[in-house]
Symmetry: D2
Subunit: 253 residues, 4 copies
């Protein structure tokens, strides 16, 4: 059986009770957390899934990277939303997709992991500050060289043929007309917006342009439970709102 073992410079997820840390194995260094110290050199050649004192050491998943690895200067899109967005955009191995608003690059990474080496993600970010931060994140965590990063206004971009598009900007109604040109007839479109006013606004834009069908507006709620078999119950508090998700498909004329 193949066993994944921890190597120098590997990323690891360190878990202690409800806390999680994403770290790179530096064999000359020691990690100090709430559960005591970890001498990194002692982890080398040990299998992932290892218990070390009261810690557990795992190979980071994409979710771990998004939650604990990405450096963020924009609003996070939570995994519960991100996963549903990928489904609604019909992402699979080989998909060709466009992202408008790279933000921190977390969604970009997720798209990249799913569409794989035969797929393609073009992502456009106007703000240079976000672009540079996203670039670092993507360089640090990417697995496939299938991402094309562009630092420009979406109106200056004229690619075409995308099978789906994800738009994460504050006022997407300004861009709908242009984005419509970039994607194939029947292509899936997705957005996330925090307020009901914005949702009303984008619906108004859809109603006006008449270029999109199968519109869906929804919220995804994640409710976690305490994992004690004899006292099963939801956690006392939860994330109640991240954003409204809006989806549609491009009509052909």
């Amino acid at each position: 059986m193949t066993v994944d073992t921890i190597k120098p410079d590997d990323l690891v997820l360190i878990c202690f009770k409800d806390r999680k840390y994403l770290k790179r194995i530096d064999v000359n260094s020691t990690f100090n957390g709430k559960g005591g110290s970890i001498v990194f050199s002692e982890l080398v050649d040990k299998p992932f899934g290892k218990k070390y004192g009261s810690y557990e050491i795992y190979k980071p998943t994409l979710e771990d990277i998004i939650m604990f690895g990405i450096k963020r200067d924009t609003q996070i899109i939570y995994p519960k939303d991100a996963a549903y967005i990928c489904l609604k955009l019909n992402l699979k191995s080989g998909s060709q997709m466009l992202e408008v608003g790279t933000g921190s690059g977390a969604m970009t990474l997720m798209f990249s992991y799913i569409v794989g080496p035969e797929g393609r993600v073009v992502t456009i970010e106007k703000e240079e500050r976000h672009f540079r931060n996203a670039k670092k994140n993507i360089e640090r965590f990417s697995k496939f060289s299938n991402v094309e990063m562009i630092n420009s206004d979406i109106f200056d971009y004229n690619g075409s043929g995308f099978e789906s598009v994800f738009i994460d900007v504050r006022e997407p109604w300004h861009y709908i007309g242009h984005i419509q040109e970039l994607i194939r007839p029947g292509a899936s479109i997705g957005m996330i917006l925090p307020t009901t006013n914005q949702v009303s606004e984008i619906l108004k834009a859809f109603e006006a342009c008449n270029g999109f069908g199968d519109i869906e507006v929804c919220e995804i709620l994640l409710r976690r439970y305490k994992t004690v078999s004899e006292r099963l119950r939801p956690f006392d508090r939860m994330v109640a709102h991240t954003g409204y998700l809006i989806f549609g498909r491009k009509l052909s004329i």
Copy 2:
């Protein structure tokens, strides 16, 4: 710009208001639904996204296939849950994964689409009736030849090295010990169970075997909104429960 056009024998999604139908284009045939008739031959060479009378014609997404294409003789796993399961199992292009309980093959297809041509999905189903139904579904809708279907008891299966496993059987606590042998240290495990009693039972099994960490129990709720800009409000009714999702990661000894 590449335009996807409808060809004979293509699968199409036909939308009329809230109704959706998944059909194959038979050029000698006519579709009759609530919104009137569609002469299929008239759709040929038209782009996807086409309006036809009061219908809209789309290229089916994976979600459409799961919801409207799959022939089902077991309980459906809804897209909201399926998407989050894929995320928690860390599925991406190239993943090697195991599914215990093929059911109708809907999740198998989803796994197959994501892991792509360089990935691999082994799926095991004990009941011959389910196995045969799933086989037909997978043959009909698969895109990549990355699925190995096995009609046997999980106890008779001895593969190894899987990076993740999804278990969809009624009493998973019986199989945890064996499944632990088949997956890598650190591998992700996922399950769906409809009752709180079953969740307590599987948590008890985890507590007893001490072989899994980072246990998470949760529910995903999807709340849809009516898409009228001037009267934005949730739909009156919603799916309130599909199942509890249980996740963990294998510890190494």
Copy 3:
């Protein structure tokens, strides 16, 4: 021990599985439902809580009356919302309150039951059709003579001194200024509105008039479970939306 026994002309709630019927005992009549026939005369002098074949016979609660007794020609306010509204309006034995928009009179009855013989409910309905229907409902089900029903426009009403007000009209923002005059400084105000656009509108009115503080906007969700001890789980479907509740308190100048 006092035992409530069923008398001729009593209201009874008849339960059969998930079905409930509110009926008046007519000793010359027979009830026919999904669970078979009930000869009403056989129930006389029997205690409430009686099993009769596969039926259970109860004395109706206020909730039963609201759900199964009230004749309705306006939108129902569900018990989950009604109960929270009463709390937020600080209703108790002896309260003096105003209702704008009597509707079917269901909330009026609930207010009446709580404020009791020493309290007072003034309710105003513009539409004569609703007024007449509500009058019948209230005459049929009231317990205390503490309700004053008025069939007029709220602008024609000039009472004062109310400790709280409940407003159930489509565009409450038109009336806020006038209603402010009718209630005491510090009085509680409550509303229910189905769309987010209406909520934005009323918040705008509050922001403009500057006469109300401690504004709260919320939703109440009720999730029911199947009551089988060994297979505890939520019902598959639930009511996902009834209305947004809006509360505030009148500021003094």
Copy 4:
């Protein structure tokens, strides 16, 4: 118009942004909070609803008392649950009800406010410590002398004729048989329990004793919104779980 004005020794609710404080007006004292100081003597003879600097001063509602006034040494029952419990127990002006487990006395107060001077609340608490704390709370905040407090084991209590009972103890299944004797046929019974295991246990007790019908298990979720008209959206976080509510009605034999 009658205007409520603030008098020495009155209870007041002081609001500043999201913070609320319940205080008694001591004319020789000053309140110091996040929004600055309040010289209490300056509030005397002013109407409730007054703005004082950046504060708002209200007459406390029952909800304010429960949330900010009650001294608590047991788990709080939130207003959202408390309101629905009162409805399901069919409480109204004049009701005769029993409470098993007084706790901090918060629910007792709520019951007392609703049943009013012609109603009656008998409440039983075994733990002397809780009993004494509840006694102080009830003496401080009660409006009607309709509460009988008993410091004993429920098995030592033999009253009868109650129209409804609320049970707030950890293992209610032990007491169901006895409590059944104390309430009328058809009487409503209510409970709150935090874990699914407890819910299964009480359902098992109901199934075994066969003395209760119309069983309902549910949760009440309250989701609050930020009250900005142009950016309407739910708060980021919410209380996700307080307890499961269980209701039923006593069958007669």
